[in-house]
């Protein structure tokens, strides 16, 4: 059972949005789809890059874990987004590992097909380029953040990152639609589990957020934004 790019309803998918109608059947022909359970590894640091992934459904964390260093989440991704772009360039070896946060379906496009698509579809190349530009900026911002922010600011930035990626619950406008585990939040913020617990408690006390079990409710989005912009 293969989904067709020609008739796909994911209009924010780069392939769907920026490839010509003539190209979509070709991508459909070459792509493969795989279902992953939660917690599965899609690719690992050090693996050779053979293509690019498109997330059809689900949520993914992209992590680095250099020798002895703690796991660090460098990106959160969800359906309609591209995955594995960090592997392009250089020696074509993944510098990161991608793990599913929940059950996910992924589409894989072989690298030569993707390259051909880029060359044949200028809008795709242009938007990929701008996507990389944003990623580069976000990445360097994160480095700066890790070096100079307080724990509270780091966690505010991390919550905003989760909000910007996964959004709020459609039926409850200030409840996060997906809350990563506290340990994952620590990896996003580049801090420890204990610090996350403490800072979340503080934020709750000050009525900025509310903790409903595992899930976080944002009560004062503006305050979180100000915390983020202080640097």
């Amino acid at each position: 059972m293969k989904r067709k790019c020609e008739t796909c309803s994911h209009h924010n998918c780069f392939i769907n949005k920026y490839c010509s109608d003539e190209w979509k059947p070709l991508i459909t022909f070459h792509k493969t789809s795989t279902d992953y359970p939660a917690g599965a590894t899609i690719f690992s640091e050090g693996d050779p890059v053979k293509g690019i992934y498109q997330i059809y459904s689900g949520k993914i964390k992209v992590i680095t874990s250099s020798n002895g260093e703690k796991e660090r989440i460098v990106r959160l991704a969800k359906e309609e987004q591209i995955l594995g772009h960090r592997g392009l360039g250089g020696e074509m070896i993944y510098p990161v590992t991608a793990i599913t946060l929940e059950e996910s379906q992924l589409t894989f496009i072989p690298i030569d097909i993707f390259y051909n698509a880029l060359k044949a579809n200028p809008e795709l190349a242009f938007n990929m380029l701008m996507f990389y530009a944003d990623e580069l900026k976000a990445s360097e911002k994160r480095m700066k953040m890790l070096a100079s922010m307080t724990a509270k600011e780091k966690i505010a930035v991390s919550i905003m990152n989760i909000v910007n990626t996964f959004g709020f619950n459609p039926n409850d406008s200030n409840l996060l639609s997906f809350t990563p585990t506290r340990k994952d939040i620590a990896s996003i913020a580049g801090t420890t589990y204990e610090t996350v617990i403490r800072v979340l408690g503080d934020l709750e006390k000050n009525n900025i957020i509310a903790l409903e079990g595992k899930v976080i409710r944002v009560k004062d989005l503006e305050f979180l934004k100000t915390l983020c912009e202080r640097n």
Binding site: G46, L88, G90, L118, K119, K137, E140
Partner: protein, 237 residues
């Protein structure tokens, strides 16, 4: 320099654009001759276009605190400048300063986007360029803390060689462009440490000092020193 007949074969615009578009670029770009140690653009400036370094040498600086500046990139002739400003906000997160007298061409956002859309080789090149920059930027951060000073100096020197090349291919005189203090900054070590490491590299006959200029004697050895850590990372399981 004239895009229609540019002697700089390293320029990415010249390499990846159709001739009709090179003519267009020649008419629409503005060029400036900038003397050494001048600012081309500053952190916080609005990005209104892209700069191409036609000739000369430039350092790209990131402010890490109020008084500290870190050289995160060096650029040589034919390279793009200010690509870090591209993104929805269009504000430079870094500053660029000339190391020596340089010719800098400026292409407005509007024209550059036209170029990218019309020249598929250019858009592909730019995408891969950004991919490399992202990889390099993140690798630098991660590997950084684990690297010894010697590894840092080796990587920095190799970066200089790949960007600026040699003054003389035969004698392998490195076209350093940076002062030793700037080289220390670029390698993220202190100046005294740099001098110490350079002494070790001299002793091991990997580099040589002729009239206060560095020559590269053993590039393979330098590469081995610098990639020890990277290899370790990429093959680690």
């Amino acid at each position: 320099m004239d895009c229609r007949n540019c002697p700089n074969t390293k320029c990415f615009i010249q390499k990846h654009c159709l001739s009709a578009w090179l003519e267009y670029t020649q008419h629409h770009k503005t060029s400036k001759q900038i003397s050494a140690a001048k600012t081309i653009f500053s952190e916080g400036d609005l990005v209104t276009g892209i700069h191409v370094l036609c000739s000369g040498k430039v350092k790209v600086l990131l402010k890490t605190s109020k008084e500290k500046e870190h050289i995160i990139r060096i650029a040589g002739q034919g390279q793009v400048l200010g690509h870090r400003g591209f993104s929805e906000k269009m504000v430079y997160p870094i500053s660029a300063e000339t190391l020596i007298e340089s010719e800098v061409a400026f292409i407005s956002n509007e024209d550059f986007f036209k170029l990218i859309r019309a020249n598929k080789d250019l858009s592909f090149y730019m995408m891969m360029f950004f991919a490399d920059e992202l990889l390099r930027s993140e690798q630098k951060l991660r590997v950084h803390a684990l690297k010894t000073s010697k590894e840092k100096v080796a990587s920095a020197l190799l970066m200089v060689v790949s960007t600026f090349g040699f003054k003389d291919e035969k004698t392998k005189h490195i076209d350093l462009g940076l002062s030793l203090r700037e080289l220390a900054n670029f390698a993220t070590i202190s100046y005294p440490t740099l001098l110490k490491v350079l002494d070790i590299l001299l002793e091991e006959e990997i580099i040589r000092n002729i009239d206060n200029e560095l020559c590269l004697l053993n590039e393979t050895a330098l590469i081995n020193i610098s990639t020890k850590e990277n290899l370790h990372l990429s093959h680690k399981k």
